[in-house]
């Protein structure tokens, strides 16, 4: 029983990170119509910024704040300079630019900070004794901290989308870009802001998740997370923020349970499991759990 709870707690913690990364993917997808494959490496780059600041003596929470701002600026800057010029041609061109960014950002991080693994400080207490005991299982403070931060991020996104004018305009552009432009919505600015928000969320996800993993910070840290987040976003329906969060949590918990109870998959094949989910969703339910079905009265 306590072992199950342990696995559940770990699953929720991982799932929280997948959830906000998936949310970042969904925000860009709704506006620009493509999966941003550079999302993971954008998060990686900003995580390196937070790590680098910590080596200069800054507290890691300050690094988190700076990394989030860098993510915002970098995401918005990428949309303005690299995505917007090709967007009007077609979605495939945007996809190629994203793939290019994927390798470029990874290489840039390696160039600046070399390819050796770094020890990433944790924002929350992460000693062996820092846990709550619940039914014999251990809920570590750093895991709980991730839950709370993710809750705040999701709450802020909910408020942005549903309570602000900018959020309303983001939804309008996602739904019908031409009608949005005809209504006077500055679509370019709205898309740029969406990329910025995604960059900022990626930074939060990267800084939170890196200290949880035993490998610490390396050039390959964010790639598996991007795969899981893509699977979560697809599972939830690529254009649904709620679906992204639900998909992320479900995937995180499922992954832990499979690793724990299905011996032959073990730790070695979880990414294959994620990819299997992507394929299964594409075949069985192309619009995901919460995605928009392309069916309307006209």
């Amino acid at each position: 029983m306590s072992l199950l709870l342990d696995r559940l707690f770990d699953g929720i913690t991982n799932g929280c990170v997948y959830a906000i990364m998936a949310l970042a993917l969904v925000i860009v997808f709704r506006g620009s119509g493509t999966i941003n494959f550079a999302q993971g490496e954008l998060a990686l780059f900003t995580t390196y910024v937070a790590w680098w600041l910590s080596t200069l003596g800054a507290p890691i929470w300050a690094g988190l704040v700076v990394a989030t701002v860098v993510g915002l600026v970098l995401g918005a800057g990428i949309e303005r300079t690299l995505i917007r010029p090709v967007r009007r041609r077609n979605d495939m061109a945007v996809l190629i630019v994203c793939l290019g960014l994927f390798t470029a950002l990874n290489a840039l991080a390696g160039l600046i900070w070399n390819s050796e693994s770094k020890v990433m400080p944790s924002v929350f207490p992460n000693g062996l004794e820092d846990y709550l005991s619940i039914g014999g299982a251990r809920l570590y403070f750093d895991g709980l901290g991730v839950w709370l931060v993710v809750l705040v991020v999701v709450g802020l996104m909910f408020l942005l989308f549903n309570r602000t004018r900018l959020g309303l305009h983001m939804r309008a552009v996602a739904n019908a870009p031409e009608s949005a432009a005809l209504s006077g919505v500055r679509t370019g600015r709205v898309l740029m802001f969406g990329w910025g928000v995604s960059g900022a969320i990626g930074a939060v996800a990267g800084v939170l998740v890196t200290p949880l993993s035993p490998q610490q910070l390396g050039l390959q840290t964010m790639f598996p997370i991007l795969i899981y987040a893509s699977a979560a976003a697809l599972f939830g329906g690529l254009d649904s923020p709620v679906g992204a969060v639900v998909g992320g949590l479900v995937l995180g918990v499922l992954q832990q349970l499979i690793m724990g109870y299905v011996g032959f998959i073990g730790d070695t094949l979880p990414q294959t499991a994620a990819l299997s989910i992507i394929v299964a969703v594409l075949v069985l339910r192309p619009n995901g759990l919460f995605g928009t079905r392309q069916l309307e009265r006209v």
Partner: protein, 238 residues
Amino acid sequence: MSDLLHVEGLVAGYGQAQVLHGVDLTVGAGEVVVVLGANGAGKTTLMRAIAGLLPSRGAIAFGGQPLGGRRPEAVVARGVSLVPQGRGTFTALTVHENLRVGAAVRGKDKDGIAADIEHWYEVFPVLRARAKQVAGTLSGGEQQMLAVARALMSRPKLLLCDEISLGLAPKIVAELFAVLRKINDEDGTALLLVEQNAELALDLAGRAYLLEVGRVAGQGPAAEFRDNDAVRRAYLGY
């Protein structure tokens, strides 16, 4: 009468396919003008070019200032609003949210926007009844009413309507045209209509243009148009 909209030598199209070959057209302040023409004559292209959705050559001036080459969001900010063909609504947003997006150019004028939404709910009571429904669940007629109200939320000086009667029941069409007449009478909003329903449109309009394969083939007062035998045979069917 000074021209509100002045279009001269307008050339536009899609990629290699040029559709408009130098169109001249004017709309005066508070005037109602209808553009008639067969399918493929370039009516929709004309509307989209004016609204900034298509690149174009030639001159488009609005209120004495050049409008050509502007982005759609800048065109609507200047006071030209388009109801596009096939309903310009946000199907995933509620009726109320659609109207709020329509007021995008008005910034943070919260009270004025709320008052206008209330006004359009009074004009179209069915929209009030469906205020919290997403627009995609509305009937075709209701969506078209929403599209018109959404376009008017920007308080345009000139409203462009691209085939707003298309595919709708006669009763709904009559209701929509009554509203167009009302906003022209009461608010002085100028109208430029592209319309299949020539009879109804000529009834509302002061002047008419006939567009044939991308060129203006005729123009004049709407009453004369109706009495013109060729126009009658081609567009009125009697």
